[in-house]
């Protein structure tokens, strides 16, 4: 009787140790978890969208980064669909994929923005400042030629 009792105890303790070693049993993601991850992915996309608009306003070519944004957006759409079909594990996985695609997005958009701003400044210097100075130089040269010609004409040299 005593041996049987200690055997049962031994089995139970072993089972407990195995459970502790293996870790917690996997459980399906909850609706709340999925909603949180999807909401976070949405916020990430909106932040990236703002960065994209800033880069575009600075005159950057945003075609490539918009492609990345669309890729992330596609994962998010699929995540939302999975959420509506109560497939919360898939929803979380897809929403995280959406976020992973955008990890370096904002810094890339900012680099594009800075490059475009520099390019715009350079263009402004070349196109506006140099062109304006050139126009004044042409007018001044025209006036100089005029006065020179007029002077020569009066002196009877022309």
């Amino acid at each position: 009787m005593q041996i049987s009792c200690s055997k049962t105890l031994l089995v139970l303790v072993s089972l407990l140790l195995v459970i502790i070693a293996v870790g917690p049993l996997p459980v399906g993601a909850s609706q709340a978890d999925a909603a949180t991850v999807i909401s976070s992915a949405k916020d990430t996309i909106l932040d990236c969208y703002d960065a994209t608009k800033d880069a575009e306003a600075a005159g950057a070519n945003i075609t490539a980064i918009v492609g990345t944004l669309n890729e992330a957006s596609s994962f998010l759409s699929q995540a939302e669909f999975a959420y509506t079909t109560n497939d919360f594990d898939v929803a979380i996985n897809l929403a995280r994929q959406s976020q992973n695609i955008l990890i370096n997005y904002i810094s890339e958009a900012n680099i594009l923005k800075e490059t475009a701003t520099q390019q715009q400044n350079q263009d402004f210097q070349i196109n506006v400042i140099l062109s304006t100075i050139g126009t004044f130089a042409v007018v001044a040269a025209g006036l100089a030629v005029w006065f020179f010609t007029k002077k020569k004409y009066k002196n009877g040299e022309v």
Binding site: Y49, E56, A57, V66, S73, A141, G142, V145, Y153
Partner: protein, 204 residues
């Protein structure tokens, strides 16, 4: 040549040269601002033309097409496309009143389009449905599932009754375009929709 003629020639040459040299600066200030800001939306058939749209639909047969958006709004836009399905009695989007259909969306997807750029997506769809027969006549189509780009969308509960005038079991699959409003932080109906109209035949 007298002095007056010199003056005219010199003025002309100076003016032309000044305009040439000053044109890079002038073009910055003389370009007329854009006044037309709009979004284009289109639907094309499987051959990328606006001709052979599917009409007589068979059960579970796969059809394809292209959906496109062109952004001319002046900056990058964030669009939401809602896929909806209706029969002849259910509300459609209304171009005159600028309202979307009150039907719930079967599938939503978002897309970003940069200014002066276009986005286009191939899509496929197939309907799973059954005809109800009463006294050897077909009276109603009961829908079960819409496969859109291989996603199974549940359209159980959707029906279409026989339209004796048009002689069709009418079905209308349409895409509504919504746009993200930065100021209020929500998507708003953008007054654009495109769709396909079908006769749900009993062929399979």
């Amino acid at each position: 040549m007298n002095l007056q003629r010199y003056k005219v020639v010199l003025l002309g040459v100076t003016a032309i040269l000044a305009l040439l040299v000053g044109s890079p600066a002038l073009q910055r200030f003389l370009v007329l601002p854009r006044t037309d800001f709009f979004t284009e939306m289109w639907l094309l058939d499987e051959e990328h033309r606006a001709e052979n749209y599917p009409f007589n639909v068979s059960i579970n047969e796969r059809y394809t097409g292209f959906l496109g958006i062109g952004n001319n709004l002046g900056d990058c836009a964030y669009y939401l496309i809602q896929l909806k399905f209706r029969n002849q009695t259910q509300p459609a989007a209304d171009s005159l009143n600028h309202t979307s259909s009150s039907l719930s969306s079967l599938y939503n997807f978002t897309v970003f389009v940069a200014d002066k750029e276009v986005w286009e997506m191939p899509f496929s769809f197939a309907f799973d449905y059954a005809h109800d027969n009463y006294n050897q006549s077909l009276l109603e189509v009961r829908f079960d599932e819409l496969k859109f780009n291989d996603l199974g969308l549940n359209i159980k509960g959707y029906t279409s009754v026989w339209d004796p005038q048009a002689r069709v079991f009418y079905g209308n699959l349409f895409f509504e375009l919504w746009i993200y409003n930065d100021n209020v932080g929500v998507f708003q109906y953008h007054d654009r929709y495109v769709g396909l109209e079908f006769n749900m035949t009993s062929r399979s």
